[in-house]
Amino acid sequence: MVEVDSSDLSRDTLFGVEEMEINFGPQHPATHGVLRLKLKVDGERIVDCYPVIGYLHRGTEKLFELHPFFQNVPHTDRLDYVAAATNNLAYVGAVEKLLGIVVPPRASYIRTLLSELQRISSHLLWLATHAIDIGAMTPFFYTFREREVVLDLFEEYCGARLTLNCMRPGGQPYDLPVGWVERCAEFVGGFPEKIDEYEGLLTENRIWKKRTVGIGILSPEMALDYAVTGPMLRGSGIGLDVRKAMPYEMYDQMDFDVPVFYNCDTYDRYLVRMEEMRQSVRIVQQCLEKLPEGPLMAKRPRVLKAPKEGDVYHAVEAPKGEIGFYIVGDGTPNPHRCRGRPPSFYNIQVLPEMVVGGRIADLIAVIGTTDVVLGAVDR
């Protein structure tokens, strides 16, 4: 009989006081792209988390400097590629501010309309993937049914479904097609019932609440310190919304509420986004109602030249938070510097604060709740 020296089998190495480093991503379905996390875990518990980004870096900001102002609009589509309309809006808004262009009201209404439809489609995609991450398969089929309708509306308007390229500095390139307003009104008229369906599946679902309530706590102080914006900030009890705080386009004419929830957890951020979709429906309906006749494009030179010296920052509320563009002009048709302030970059930066001390399974829920798009993070 072999004698085993029991002192070798120290308790530490057998029963989980030992810390282990694991690599999460970049190729993992729950990371929503190519996010990589270096995790230090103690059993199921996360001790440390270090996000590594840059796997989708395409040098978009370098490309901006090489193209005239008009040709940069398609590049902005590729930042947050599930919410192209709001990227376009932030960029063209900054260019218009830099050159002093005033947009005609009809174009402005169409922009408001498109960005709210974009918010609905982005939140639907978020809900589908977030629910699948947590294990609820069915909402995916429900939300993609409606998202398809929104994308069809986009396709009818500008020919593209994701990379829309649907705005130009100075106004809108196309008018709404015949019958579009009616089809859009029909969709948004029936959409609140569909939101009820999703909520029926999830909001009071015991498993859903067990996986989200009290998970990924982000205190309001922490959220502000890390410059978190959008639904994540409003789920932490701070009602900052660029649409209300510094209205752009036609938002000052719209009657809508900014939902704020105070429990700072994944469940509240889910509630914020569900309520935001209802508010987007209200805004779309008001836009369709008030849509004025008139020109679509402002008077502007064929080649846009920035002032010799001058820089502007223009921000809009994207589905994920504040997206802003900082453009420096140097008197040429190209921007000297064009910086996109991506909301996802800041929202994912705070991830370690939310997951350290939690469990690995909760990490999946928390990544889902940040609604990260790595195209915007890495640019």
Partner: protein, 276 residues
């Protein structure tokens, strides 16, 4: 947002083009029909006067028509730099930091403060704790290769939630001179400062983790510098250690040596379309 106030729709006003009415030509009858040789000088004078009057009337009519136009029908007028009007924030900062605030100007209604590099952290702390700029919206770098002094600029965008006000801080620096990090003031400055370092090579003093963020460790060069070639560079030592020693490899700004292939000789070159 004041400069965008006027893009709201003004209901009840026509939006179509309104042609300028013709200038009234009442002075023509005064001009002599057949000028004599003695009075030719006087006639020329009168004619010049007539022309001047007509031109003035026309200019007035054009100006009136311009004033009747909607804002989006006018030629866009780019905003201009203005000295910042005296407001509480600028005065308070100037009194507490003196030379730390180098300039305060506005462009397109946005307040831009140029801050001395040494005092950026204290200015940031004061702005956050005393003036309510709790949200550090963004930090980015800009490269101005033509400037001899301080070719790099770090730009901070701040936001005050209570006053719904944005301001912009600018700090100039140059190669090898660190900018004090503001991570101690706003934790969210961590990643954007790393990005500025990665893209421009501007380092931040007392930053907790001054490493590259978008490019990989060992990448040679800083991609957003103006002298960095767009086609990219060979990545050098980190990837091909068998070819390059430490820190060796192609240098940013020298290009890859790649040239476009020669066009075939039998075909004439296509004319380059005019960009405009």
């Amino acid at each position: 947002m004041s400069e965008r106030q006027d893009d709201k729709p003004q209901e009840g006003r026509p939006t179509g083009d309104q042609p300028a009415p013709e200038a009234p030509d009442e002075t023509r009858s005064e001009a002599p029909a057949t000028p004599d040789s003695d009075s030719s000088a006087a006639a020329a004078e009168a004619e010049a006067e007539t022309k001047a009057k007509a031109a003035a009337a026309k200019a007035k009519a054009v100006a009136e028509a311009e004033a009747r136009k909607e804002p989006w029908e006018r030629d866009p007028a780019a905003p201009e730099w203005q000295e910042a009007e005296s407001d509480g924030l600028v005065d308070a900062l100037k009194s507490s930091f003196g030379e730390g605030v180098l300039a305060a100007r506005t462009f397109a209604g946005e307040l831009v403060l140029e801050i001395d590099r040494q005092s950026i952290r204290e200015v940031g702390r004061s702005l956050k704790e005393e003036h309510g700029f709790t949200l550090l919206v963004d930090i980015c770098g800009v490269h101005y290769p033509d400037r001899d002094q301080a070719p790099f600029e770090v730009v901070y965008h701040l936001y005050n939630l209570d006053q719904t006000r944005r301001i912009r801080l600018k700090v100039g620096t140059q190669e090898g001179i660190d900018v004090p990090s503001v991570v101690a003031v706003w934790k969210g400055a961590n990643w954007p400062e790393r990005e500025v370092y990665d893209m421009y090579g501007v380092r931040f003093a007392e930053h907790p983790d001054m490493t590259r963020i978008l490019m990989w460790e060992g990448f040679n060069g800083h991609p957003l510098r103006k002298d960095f070639p767009v086609e990219g560079i060979d990545t050098g030592a980190a990837i091909y250690p068998e070819f390059y020693g430490d820190e060796a490899g192609p240098v940013a700004g020298t290009g890859t040596g790649w040239k476009p292939p020669e066009p075939p000789e039998d075909k004439p070159e296509e004319p380059v379309p005019d960009e405009a």
